[in-house]
Amino acid sequence: MSEKDPAPLKPNRPKLELHVPEPTFRPGDTPDFSSLNIPAAGVAPRPDTNAAPTETHPLTTSLVRVLGEDHKAVGAWDPKVDPDTLRKMLKDMVTLRIYDDRMYRAQRQGKTSFYMKATGEEAIAIATAAALDRDDMNFPTYRQQGLLIARGYPLVEMMNQVYSNPGDALKGRQLPIMYSSKEHGFFTISGNLGTQVPQAVGWAMAAAIKGDSRIAMGWTGDGATAEGDFHSAMTFAAVYNVPVILAVVNNQWAISSFSGIAGAERATFAQRAVGYGVAGLRVDGNDALAVYAAVKWAAERARGNGGPTLIEFFTYRAEGHSTSDDPSGYRPATEAKAWPLGDPLERLKAHLIALGEWDEERHQALHAECDATVRAAQKESEKLGILPQQGKHDIGSVFEDVYADLPWNLVEQRKAALEEGRD
């Protein structure tokens, strides 16, 4: 059939329509999340960690929440975390927020090419780090820098990476924030989204093959759940009953595409666990205690050979995707403020105050201390250099680490590059 000769319409049939999801609010709209179903804290039941996956499945459409309106921890999911651990989590979150602000500003000042903040999502990585064992392995995305901070990776090292300066452990080869630290159980971040999720499953398969007791956690955003890699990860995790936790950080936005473009209009991301027959939890990601409790639950399950858990952390990306993004072009500027689950840092702080374990004065002191630490680290890192000065001091290093040994073609090309460098 030629293009001039289209198929005749069948008049008795409805015309087919393509549905293109559209977010509820666009720039200029007043965001109103009152129709969002947010169960009260404490109502979600907590199955045994060795329960059948189906027992968790009602939780995939609910929301595990621990911190109530009165800032007290309630319900079966209350992890009963000691105040010192809570204060450590708070400190890490404060540090992360200040760190993000300083590095964002450094990018705006032209000191580096790119930066990505985790604002509004700090509780997720930081409470996870508190809940996992120190030697458990993470395959993170670019918004889990909180894992590194919580595990004590030096801020100077992080900044050296962001500046690609001579202190950068990655020799200036990676885009800022694509950290890597084996020692801190933090796999090298890929800019190709989703690739790390099935890799986490592979790592945990290896741990199971070797009879290890360490587990792995694989991370993705809501947007990249649409990648085939997410499906591979879920399939492999289910098939081999892998000791892995797979986390979907649903911050509602994949650059400018709302979560509906990844399928969220039809089902929650946690519900994907149902089809694979694995445990699934949907968790208030702005509730540090709920995050902690869910990861503890899933880790205990994995360690007991109970298999994988898919956790959706329901949160909101309070700022732009990256320094290259301007969210005012696609969503209301007031949306973050209107987000009904609040600010994770403020919520944890209020909880500690409600417990009588914290107060405004101490918080101000903590903030000042963290601010001083970050500033000192930045000063130290900038002494080693910022991005605009880089890319000259060790041209030959470009050719290292492609392979363990330098093949003849790279030997020749290195020589040519060094000659160019002298021209």
């Binding site: 392995m137 592979g202 290896a206 591979s232």
Partner: protein, 337 residues
């Protein structure tokens, strides 16, 4: 010395490597209990247990990604992609992850693994069981690409690939799994047992990656080939009565450039043979290298024999395949004046 076909030699290589290193694990579609559709991994599950040799879901992306995670943990995965034509769902993991992880982490993480896959046509496999995608991998910095042409090489190269600190794409010419092929599809197949290189040493040995082999010494022409085409080329120069030096590259990356230069400088003529489509194939890279490095020794333009720039056509398989007729024309051209 035992006589083996290429499948048996590859199977033996797995056993040698798995006995030597308990971190070597093998998996792939149908590669566990059954031992693979070409039986290369047969019996590994029996000998090494289910957690070291097992079946994988039909998910090449998942297979490669799982291997990445395992290599990050400290294992040495040797995975089978059932046909090279199926490798594309794993391509992102191979290109963006496997190949680049050593570099992007400045050596903090490395990816020692072997991705094995039967490739090439001449078995009436149609366009989804016949492709030669080697140039899609030789183009990727961080990967090594190995293609054996005999049982003895297959074992030694596979053991070397498994022991290598870097990721190796290991393409197995499936047309010659059971016997060498001279390109005359209308003639009876010769089994490997009639070929000298079917004598495969027992136990551990390696053939170093990056070393070509001169399979026929000669003075009038250099022929560069790999995989099935080594045998097609050997038969063609013999039939045409040309005193050609035939070099089996064995490893495309890293390439044994010294062996190529030495030979072309001696013969002054060069013919490059590949089964893959012509445009942007590995033969194009070889041709450019010979031209750049041996120009003043050349007495004729470098010539290529390749598949056509078409998908592999099922019923017209022998129209596509660069067989004796295409070889003859090219040999006449490169030997003229």
């Amino acid at each position: 010395m035992p006589t083996m076909n290429m499948i048996q030699a590859l199977n033996d290589a797995h056993r040698v490597a798995m006995r030597a290193d308990e971190n070597v694990v093998v998996f792939g579609e149908d590669a566990g209990y059954f031992g693979g559709v070409f039986r290369v991994t047969e019996g590994l599950q029996r000998e090494f247990g289910k957690t070291r040799a097992f079946d994988a879901p039909i998910s090449e992306g998942g297979i490669v990604a799982a291997a990445v995670g395992m290599a990050a943990y400290g294992l040495k995965p040797v995975v089978e992609i059932q046909f090279a034509d199926y490798i594309y769902p794993g391509y992102d993991q191979i290109v963006s992850e496997v190949a680049k992880i050593r570099y992007r982490t400045a050596g903090e993480w490395t990816m020692p693994m072997v991705i094995r896959s039967p490739y090439g046509g001449g078995i009436f496999g149609g366009q989804t069981h016949s492709q030669s995608p080697e140039s899609l991998f030789t183009h990727i910095a961080g990967l090594k690409v190995v293609i054996p042409s005999t049982p003895r090489d297959a074992k030694g190269l596979l053991v070397a690939a498994i022991e290598d600190p870097d990721p190796v794409i290991f393409f197995e010419p499936k047309r010659i799994y059971n016997g060498p092929f001279d390109g005359h599809h209308d003639r009876p197949v010769t089994p490997w047992s009639k070929h000298e290189a079917s004598e495969v040493p027992e136990g551990h040995y390696t053939i170093p990656l990056g070393k070509a082999e001169i399979v026929r010494e000669g003075s009038d022409l250099t022929v560069l080939a790999y995989g099935t085409m080594v045998h097609v080329a050997l038969a063609a120069v013999t039939e045409q009565g040309i005193d050609a030096e035939v070099i089996d590259l064995r490893t495309l990356v890293p390439l044994d450039i010294a062996a190529i230069e030495q030979s072309v400088e001696k013969t002054g003529r060069c013919l490059i043979v590949q089964e893959a489509p012509r445009t942007s194939g590995f033969a194009a890279e070889l041709s450019a290298l010979v031209q750049e490095r041996c120009f003043y020794h050349l007495e004729a333009p470098v010539e290529r024999v390749t598949g056509w720039d078409t998908p592999y056509p099922h019923a017209y398989e022998w129209v596509y395949f660069p067989g004796p007729k295409r070889m003859k024309r090219a040999l006449e051209k490169v030997m003229a004046d």
